[in-house]
Structures are given as C-alpha cells and as structure tokens.
Amino acid sequence: MTLPDETLMAFADGTLPAEAAARVAAAVAADPALAERVAELRAGGAAARGAFAHVLAEPVPERLLAALRPRAPAAAPWPGAAAAAARRPPRWRGGLAIAASLLLGLVGGWSLRGGDPGPGRIGPDLAAALETQPSGLPGAPALLTTHALADGGTCRVFTLEEGEGSLTGLACRAAGEPWRLQALVARRGAAQGFAPAGAEDPVLADMLERLGAGPALTEAEERAAIARAWRQPR
C-alpha cells in the first residue's frame, strides 16, 4: 500500500483524525517500508525543530540593535574598530579573480570558552605554526594577524594558499588551552592578484568582533607574546 508522504507526516505528528489515523496505523503495521518512512519523517521533524537553536542563545550583534535603537549606548567592540572600519579597503574588488566565495564552516566562536574538546581541533602542522610563527612571513600556512582577547585568550588569522584558491581561517586559544579552529573561509581564485583578506574578511571580522578581540598586535607585541608562549604578561 502506498500513502502520500503528507499523510504519513500527519500520522507521525498525530494530527490525523482518529479514523484516518487508525487506517494508516494498520497499513504501517503491515508494511516495514511504510514504518521506516514514518520513522524518518519523525526523526527529520525532530531534528529540524532543534536546528540552529544555538543561534537563539548567541548575543545579538550590536549592529542589529543599532539599526533599531538610538545610538547612545552603542559602544565600539574595541577602541580601534572605528578607525579600522575607516581604513578598511573595498571588500570586493571588481574585476579581480574572485570567481566564487564560499563559507565552508563556522565553528561557533562561543565554544572557545566552553572548553569543549570536540569541534575545532586542528592538525599538528597548523598548531605548530600558530604557536611559533610570526605574522607576515610566507609559508603554508602563513600567519596574517594576531589579536588579543579580553580574557587573556589569543586569536590568530592564517591562510593556506594553493593553485586553485585559498583558505583563510581563524584559530583561537583560551589561556593555557590548545588552539582551536573558530572559522574557515574558502575562496576560489583568491591566490592570484588578490592579497588575502585576512582579518578584513567579513566572516572573520564578524567572528573577531563577536569574540571581543582587540586590534592586530604590533610586530613587537606579537614577538613578545610568542616568546612567552602566549602566556599572560606578568
């Protein structure tokens, strides 16, 4: 017996009238394929209900509140933000070979403080580079900038380039914790004729802002931080 998916869905949700529900229940009991379909509809519905629920718990970005409320209480996320925004080059340079851009995966930045050991683990090569490699040197990965977090943590922006494109990522560590990947952006065609956007990349800029990261460390500040293995200065 075949039943339309809409009917099976209503059955799975318990919204069919009693008589129809009894008929479907009998059909489902007699046919394992139908029973599997009902189970899948039920599982899919339950999964969908909880999808992106973590977004509800995220702090609402200041810019959205500012769009709806007077400016008064809106503080810049860090002192250099306004200056950085003014310096910011055009994000999309027309005519350059940015054929496509794609956000691959956002690892919620707020997991940084949770100490969750699961998501965002990074490989040993990248971890070693994050630990000791100064920003601005060529390499795979190349480190682009370093940013301090208010709670003593550190974030670094890195890029990996290949013939077909590049990956730019943000890795952060809480004081004393291993580096974790926070965000990764893949851009095709960015390798030729376009400097890596780094912290200017809108996705990474957004993530840095959410994390409350400060402006990029100077070369001297970064050198000092690497020298003390990213521990807090005494």
């Binding site: 509809l41 999808a51 995220e58 709806l68 409320r69 995966g105 990947l181």
Partner: protein, 185 residues
C-alpha cells in the same frame, strides 16, 4: 551590502525608540535563526536581518496591527533573500562544491573536514536541502507557523507547503540515519 543593508559609515541610527522597534528587537534572535537557515553563513544572515529591520522601520505603516509580526518579518527577510539570490548568482558565479573546496585544503585538509563536522550534522543536512524545502522547514518546523500561515506567506497552495515539509523532513531523517545521501541537491 549584498542584501541592501546600509553601509556602516552611512548609517544613521534611528532617533528614537518606538514600541514597534522594541518588538523588532525582541524578535532579533528568531530572525537571526531564520536567516541562518536561508543564508547559511552567520555574516550573510545578519546582513539579511539588518536589511529586513531597516526595511521594516520604513514600512511600519503597512504592518496590520493584530497580525503576526514575526510572520511579517519573515516575509520581508525572505524577500530580501530572494532578491539577493536572483542578483547574487550571476555575480558570485557558480557555488564551489564543498568537496572541491576540500581538495584545495592541501596542507591541512583535516582541519577543514573537522570544521565541516563542527557545523553540526543537522545544520549541514538542512543547508543541503533545496531552498524551497529549506524555507518551508524553517517556517513550519522551526518557527512554528501553521501550514496555512506558511502557504499564505510563500504564495503557494497549502498542499505544496505540506509536500515540501514532508520531503524535507524525509531527506533530513534519511541523512541523519545515514541510509542515503540527502536527495534533490
């Protein structure tokens, strides 16, 4: 900017808080979640939400008191999303398949694979559904609109919404069970 949000440096904040604006503030978390299902990335989603809020403030007079503000906002947000998709596909070029992107990871492909995993199995499966199923799922399953309310907003018959939700749920359920890949991509 892609969604029509006013650039930061040009933006003038509203001069006073209205009860209408405050009810929009209260909706922001749900608007952000809805936009995430449509747009995928957090940044694009927030651009959408910002543009929708700005448009809503200008269009307050056209909101019918006593009707659902959330549904009205979802409709505005979805229209902006559709506008962006129409214009954006040509500008951005074809989307790069995740697998192709993964192959350029080279030196640290494992990190990339782990980043994908970290997005959450459900979210990834959801974002792979066709847009019509995704928006139907977002409105009905996530935001709790009735099939009728969703049908009115989407401008399609109620049976079409039910069918899209059912197909989307089926595909989600299957992909989570690992029985077969999500269909219709």
């Amino acid at each position: 900017m892609r969604w029509g949000a006013t650039p930061r440096h040009q933006r003038g904040a509203p001069t006073q808080v209205t009860p209408f604006a405050e009810s929009l503030v209260a909706l922001l978390p749900r608007l952000r979640r809805f936009a995430r299902v449509l747009a995928g990335s957090a940044h694009e989603a927030d651009d959408l939400v910002q543009a929708a809020c700005e448009r809503a403030l200008r269009a307050e007079a056209s909101f019918a008191a006593g009707t659902r503000l959330d549904a009205w906002m979802f409709a505005i947000l979805r229209n902006l999303w559709l506008d962006g998709r129409r214009g954006g596909a040509a500008r951005r070029g074809p989307p790069m398949p995740l697998e192709a992107a993964e192959s350029i990871a080279g030196a640290d492909g494992r990190a990339l694979a782990e980043a994908r995993l970290a997005l959450g199995q459900v979210e990834r499966a959801l974002l792979r559904l066709p847009p019509e199923q995704r928006e139907a799922i977002a409105l009905v399953c996530i935001e709790g609109l009735s099939f009728r309310e969703a049908a009115d907003m989407l401008g399609v018959p109620i049976g079409t919404v039910m069918s899209r939700v059912a197909r989307g749920r089926l595909a989600l359920g299957r992909s989570l069970a690992g029985a077969e890949p999500v269909a219709g991509v």
